[in-house]
Each structure stands twice: as C-alpha cells, then as structure tokens.
C-alpha cells in the first residue's frame, strides 16, 4: 500500500523571538524543522508500512531548502520524497496549498492513505489536510488518535473529539489527520541517515503539475493578510503591593471587598 505523508517545514517556534520595537519576528538563528506534529504522521505511516508492506512517500511544498525536511523524513524511515517548489507557489494560503498538494498526490498516483499532521505550528490552521481530501474528493477522518485496522478496502480509526472518541470506518483510499496519541515518533537511524544523504529528491514545479496558473500562490489564494500587529493588552489593573506582614492584611481585605463589589462572592 502507498502511504503519502505531506510534511511542512516550519521555524522552530519555541525559539521565535519578537523584536519589541518593530513587532516583527527575529529570524536570525531560527532553525527550520519538520512541523513537530507531522512527525506523528510520519511515524504511523512507517508503522503501517512495516505491518502491511508498501512504501511511504513524504511530500513537502516550500522553498528549496524544504528538501532538508524530506531528507529528515527519509532518515526516519520514509522510502522516498518529493519536494514541491516554485516561485509561483509563494504566498499560498491554505486553499492554494491544498490545491497544489492535491495535484502532486494525483501525479504520484494510487494513494492508499494520505496522512497529515493535525496542524502546522506556524500557520496553525489545520486546514490543509481536510483541504487535500476535498480537492481529491476522498473521505476524511480528522483528529485520529489510533489506527485500529487497515486493509485495501477499509480503514478503522479512533477520532478524538471533545466528548470522547468516535470509531470511524472509512472506505479506502482516504485522508487522515493525526494527533499525538497516534504513535510516538522514532529518531532517525544511522542507516536512514546514510540513505537520506544519498537518495535523489525530485523537485516538482508548477509545470510538472496539472494546475491552473490562476489558482497558484498569492494570486490563487482567496485570503489576504492585511495587517500584522502585536497584541495589545487593555485592562486597568488596580495593583497593590503586599510584601510584608503589615501590607498583606489590608491588600487581602481590599481584594475581598473588590470581589464583593463585583458580586463574585
């Protein structure tokens, strides 16, 4: 069975610092990594291949150095990968990203399961997985916390929702988006790393895919970011200091009076 795992390269958000003066992101020294939530998608795909045979292909749309993400995925155990890169894709929103990834999956052909991360830590939308399913007109299961069964006809999964979990059975092929519970990601192996260094990673651009040029990149994206700003905090805080025996009593009295006035006690 063919497992296709779309992965995104993201800046390491824990390391993101904001320039307080300008309100912009400080990019120096910020490493690019595989979206941490995509590691779970890679892991479950590899495990399913180990059980059922077949191959795992990771695909990533992004700038040329997203090839690094693909090689990392291969080091973990993916069989191959495709980089999807073109200036024409720049500025894509989730609609245009799903459109291109769906076209790439069509070109690869014959998918069994397409397994996405739940969301990317930078864009943080979780829209691309369902978007791919919609473009390819495939059934979809989101928030998958466990894959219980897979064969050529059906896949049974647990979908984690607010009130518990659903057991869903979907026809194949299908798209899954997975959450952390699905499987603990492994580390790259030495053999994997060696393979990742040598393997050829093809790069596909707009001309390699069957797409409408008007629906690519910024031009093809329905949404536009029109403003970026620092969150403003707005409340007036009544601040009292209580650092010693004498001040604690009155501060506490004042707080309790305040809560009483607001009818909170």
């Amino acid at each position: 069975m063919r497992f296709i795992v779309p992965i995104k390269q993201v800046p390491e958000t824990n390391a993101v610092r904001m320039d307080e003066e300008t309100g912009t992101m400080v990019r120096e020294g910020v490493e690019s990594i595989i979206n941490p939530l995509d590691l779970y998608a890679i892991e479950i795909a590899i495990r399913l291949r180990e059980q059922h045979g077949g191959e795992v292909i990771s695909i990533s749309m992004g700038p040329a150095n997203a090839e690094k993400a693909i090689r990392e995925a291969i080091a973990m155990g993916c069989d191959s990968g495709v980089l999807i890169t073109d200036k024409a894709f720049a500025g894509s929103d989730t609609w245009a990203t799903s459109y291109v990834l769906a076209a790439a999956i069509r070109r690869i052909g014959d998918p069994g399961l397409i397994i996405c991360g739940e969301r990317a830590t930078d864009g943080d939308t979780g829209q691309v997985g369902p978007g791919i399913a919609s473009f390819l007109d495939l059934p979809l299961a989101t928030y998958v916390g466990k894959v219980e069964h897979v064969d050529n006809d059906v896949c049974r999964v647990r979908r984690l929702i607010e009130s518990g979990y659903e057991v869903l059975e979907t026809d194949m092929p299908a798209v899954l988006t997975v959450v952390k519970e699905v499987a603990d990601p492994r580390l790259p192996t030495l053999r994997g790393k060696q393979k990742a260094r040598k393997v050829e990673v093809p790069a596909w651009g707009a001309d390699d895919l069957d797409t409408d040029p008007n629906r690519l990149g910024l031009k093809g994206s329905p949404t536009r970011v029109v403003k970026i700003f620092r969150p403003q905090v707005t409340r007036q805080c009544r601040k009292v200091t209580a650092v010693d025996e004498e001040s604690i009593g009155p501060a506490v009295d004042e707080l309790v009076e305040f809560l009483r006035q607001r009818e909170l006690i």
């Binding site: 993101v16 309100g23 992101m25 989730t94 799903s98 830590t121 930078d122 943080d124 829209q127 691309v128 997985g129 369902p130 978007g131 399913a133 919609s134 059934p139 979809l140 989101t142 928030y143 979908r159 929702i161 607010e162 009130s163 518990g164 659903e166 057991v167 869903l168 059975e169 979907t170 026809d171 299908a174 329905p222 949404t223 536009r224 970011v225 029109v226 970026i228 700003f229 620092r230 969150p231 905090v233 409340r235 007036q236 805080c237 009544r238 601040k239 200091t241 209580a242 650092v243 001040s247 604690i248 506490v252 009295d253 707080l255 309790v256 305040f258 809560l259 009483r260 909170l264 006690i265």
Partner: protein
Amino acid sequence: MEHRGVWIVGEQSEGRVQRISHELLTRGRELADKRETDLTAVVLGNDIDADDLQGLIDRGADRVLTMEAPELEHFLVEPYTACMMQLIERHRPEIIIAGATSTGRTLMPYLAIRADAGLTADCTVLDIEPETGNLLQTRPAIGGNILATIKTPEYRPQMATVRPRSTRPAEPQPGRGGEIDRQTAPKELLGSRVRRVDFVPDESEHGLAEADVVVSVGRGIKKGENVTVVEPLAESLDAALGASRDAVDRGWMSYPHQVGLSGQTVSPKLYVAVGVSGSIQHLAGMQTAETIVAINNDPEAQIFRVADFGIVGDLFEIVPAIAEKLREAAED
C-alpha cells in the same frame, strides 16, 4: 445574484442545540447589524428540538435553516458538506462562521474548497471594514506572538472559525420574531464513505471550560506538591483548577488543565492567576474572562497588564491569607 446575509453554523448533540451556537450568535448578530443584513442560524441534525430552534431566534437569529435526516444525527464530513453546499448555492450568504470545534475544524476546510471560499481559522476578533463591507478576521499567528488581520476581498462567501468560549453566549430576548425553515435533507446528499461505528464517551470530569471561576497555577508555585497552596482558595471560590503550560510540562498538573493557545480557552466570570507570568500564549486562553485577578511577586509581570486586580507579593503568604479571609466572610 449577490451574496447577502450572515450565517452561523450551529451545532447539535442528540437533537439539542449546543452552547457554541449561542456564542456564534453573539458574533453573528454584531456582524449582521454592521452589514445591515439578516442573521441566519443553520443547524444540521436529526429531529432537532423545536424549542431549541426557537431559542436561536430568541437569541438573535432572524432565520433558522435546518436540514434533517437520520444520517445527519452525528457529524460526518461528506453529507454535512453536501447539505451545506446546497444551502449555500440556494441562499448565497456573504459570511459563514462556525466554531473551531472538532466539527467546525473539519467541516469548514472541506467545505471551503467546494465553495471556492477563503477560510480563516481560530479567529479572536471579527469585524466589518466600513469602506468595503469586507469581513476582517483577526487571529493569532506564529505561536501567538503576533496577531494577523486577514481579508477575503474577491471571494464569497467569506468563512471563519472562532474558538469556543471566546465569546459569551447571546442572551435570549423572548418575543423576538423570526422564521424557522425546517427541511428534510434530500437522500442524494446523504451518502458517506465514512461510517461512525461506535462512540466512547470520556468519563473523566474536567469541567474547566464550563467553570464560572478558575484558579490557575504557574511555575511560581515552584513544585507539584505546592498545588495544595491554592486548593483551599479554589474550594472557597468553588473554582476549577487551571495551569500554565510550564506547570503542565513539568507534570504538576495534567494536560486537560492547561489554559492557553495550545490548551483550553476559558471565559469564566473570575480568573485568578497564581504565579503565572502572563505570556501571550497563556493570555490567548483566558483574556476574555470577565474579571481577572493576579498574584505575582514580580511587579512588572505581564499578567498585571490584563488583570483588573493585582497583588504584588509572595503567593505562599498571600494565597492562604485570601482563602482564610474568604472562609471568614462566608461564615458571617
């Protein structure tokens, strides 16, 4: 035909309309008023409670549209998308908002592709641009470090999801008029390649999201055992316990207690932050609380910027003193 009207996508469970629907009405009413247009609540399900549908009118909808069938009792992405598409093609709304719930976050992106519409996830602020009438969608980006405002100038409908509990539910105003249009969903829309074969409810009680009062602890409590410091306070306020991510990552509290960008959003009447610094990511989950009280020994802590009342000092002395005072007050 022009696109007109604001829609909210209501949610039901076992035929009962869920709270998120009422929160969306608060947002939807504001947008519809600014656009001087009608607000429609759409609910898909089976045998939906008639009083609950009237309740949507009472809380601000001008019209309720339903599609009902046994196949729609539980959310399934394909039939829900097909029914929504038919409604969209028939009525052509200009704005559709849904909850950023497991349902909304699955339905909306699948639907947006079909509807050829822009979609913005997890919005915290929705507004109308006066000059153009475009929907302005503001959401946190890059781990909450910045806010981005997003527009969908050329495409209709404009679609967005908003976090549950990020708005208060609209209050009922009995006597409001409105039209309720209940339809049986046409058979040909109900096919699904996904089947829901079982459901296992989560038995554990967290109750954080619903709580009227939340007391949260952060790294300031120093170690896990010290959670006991806030317990008497939480008890006297009848509060649920929350935590910052730092407290959760250290294993002092379990993940369902985490408040913030990557945890729960809460919107209680009272939020008490104990030894929490007030990072942007934490604030993203509790900013909409009606009253915020903070206790922190750093007078410059960010949390004081969103607090209504702050005590600067050592939590290990102050928190027990508050609990004691509240206990006394309760006895009076």
